[in-house]
Symmetry: C2
Subunit: 290 residues, 2 copies
């Protein structure tokens, strides 16, 4: 946060080549956790904004887009998701959307940073409301360690991580994904925050390469929210065979009676249509021998 | 442009609630035209950036997205586009993409601001290269007046405008679109820069409302580039009946032999899949009586 000469308050996300500055009204929370600097600011335009280490994680105005696309694409691809694991997701928005699916019997959420969870509980109930849901088991611990050691298994795993800096770095490693493959039930699938094809193309490719070694079916899908730089962002989809288009039945979305502000059946399919430059980038990876 | 304490140069796009700052290496061009302030800066990350009145129009790094989606969606929807009119488009990128279609016999481009054209000719040949094409007729005049007075007719009209401030304001009016409907050949269509569903929703709705009064078939489609705020941006599609999905034949794309960095047949169809919040917004408009 900085205070400009005119006493204007701006939350500034700084990159080497780009700065995104959001006009803020007040700093609601600012604390160094053992893992990162956690900050929540209020704004007129975007509602409350959560920043970890100065990077925007969510804004109240557009978090529905990210959470809809992270959750509902896999949960409507899997024919009957009962047990869901969330790695990260401290703000609670991912859990909120998972728990709207009646088939889900248990959702385990493993978040490393309790400071994020408590700050969101206090300041952003819009996402944190789900954290007290009776079907949710919240564990404050290292997701990488949990996945390496747990005897539990899951139908769907959602890796709701920040970029691969700070505490999220091991979430972009092959060991983590091989462990995830081991704790999946038959027919299970994993969706992960997949970075930007513009700004983090190298990391996106590394993640695809890792997934390709651990899972037979791998693809990318896209979404756009207001607050991540560069417009187009991706999720990775990896499964033991379930295909996010061929095995997707839009009748299940209609029959669910659920309505979403971003997600719908047409968006589900459209998200997997990749621009040519992305097709070329991933073809190089998927064509290469394991 | 501003010079920070550390002598860093940034091109800053300022909104009431948001600032986008691009690290620049030099200002290549800066001049007040009769219509707007025209500026071209160089950057390491984005190549050259054209800003009109402080708003980013194009960057060399991502202009292919905007131009692909403005041009190839309509030119592959129309079965045989021969005469194309561009309103605006001073940087030349739209003309460049139009002229890749062999069916096009003549492209008329009407740009009000010669300063933009000359600055791009000199500094951004990547887009301006097409301005000397033998099939292109470049007219430096008011597009609204041209459309009101011309006796020429067109198969496809592309309204490549800035936001409705400054010289582009009349391009968001009903008179202009009624005139466009008049100069279309039978089966013709019009695609326009359709603003952001997040930041300029009111303007997007006004434009849809106007189109709905002048054309029987109206829809929206989306794209995401790196440099427009808020990720998701739209084009409007309006025709005398031609449908951008039902009348689109992907075999024509394949048969053309053309390749594009963003556009492809799957992207063409996917672009018309709207998030639920946009479906709700436009349903209100399209359901209302004319």
């Amino acid at each position: 946060m900085s205070t400009a000469p005119h006493s204007e308050l701006w939350a500034t996300e700084k990159h080497d080549f780009l700065e995104l500055r959001y006009r803020a009204t007040e700093v609601l929370f600012s604390e160094q956790s053992p893992f990162q600097h956690v900050e929540i600011v209020n704004t007129e335009k975007y509602g409350k904004i959560l920043l970890n280490d100065g990077y925007v994680m969510i804004t109240e105005a557009d978090e529905f887009i990210y959470h809809d696309m992270l959750v509902h694409v896999p949960l409507f691809t899997h024919p009957h998701p009962q047990r869901v694991l969330i790695i990260g997701g401290g703000d609670g928005g991912t859990a909120r959307e998972v728990l709207r699916h009646p088939s889900v019997e248990q959702c385990v959420m493993v978040e490393i940073d309790e400071v994020v969870v408590n700050a969101c509980r206090h300041h952003i109930p819009q996402t944190a409301q789900a954290l007290d849901h009776p079907k949710l088991t919240l564990r404050i611990e290292d997701g990488v360690k949990y996945v390496a050691e747990t005897a539990e298994t899951f139908d769907v795993v959602l890796v709701d991580s920040t970029d691969p800096i700070g505490p999220a770095t091991p979430l972009f490693g092959e060991t983590f994904y091989c462990d995830l493959a081991r704790i999946l039930n038959p027919g299970g699938l994993v969706v992960s925050q997949g970075e930007s094809p513009f700004y983090f193309a190298a990391m996106q490719h590394k993640l695809l390469d890792i997934l390709h070694r651990c899972f037979p079916t791998v693809s990318l899908y896209n979404y756009s929210n207001m607050s991540y730089p560069g417009g187009l962002w991706s999720f990775t989809f990896a499964s033991q065979g379930l295909d996010p288009i061929a095995d997707f039945d839009p009748a299940r979305v209609a029959a669910s009676g659920l309505e979403f502000r971003y997600y719908n059946s047409a968006i589900h399919r459209a998200a997997f249509a990749l621009p040519t430059f992305m097709q070329r980038q991933i073809k190089t990876i998927l064509d290469s021998p394991c």
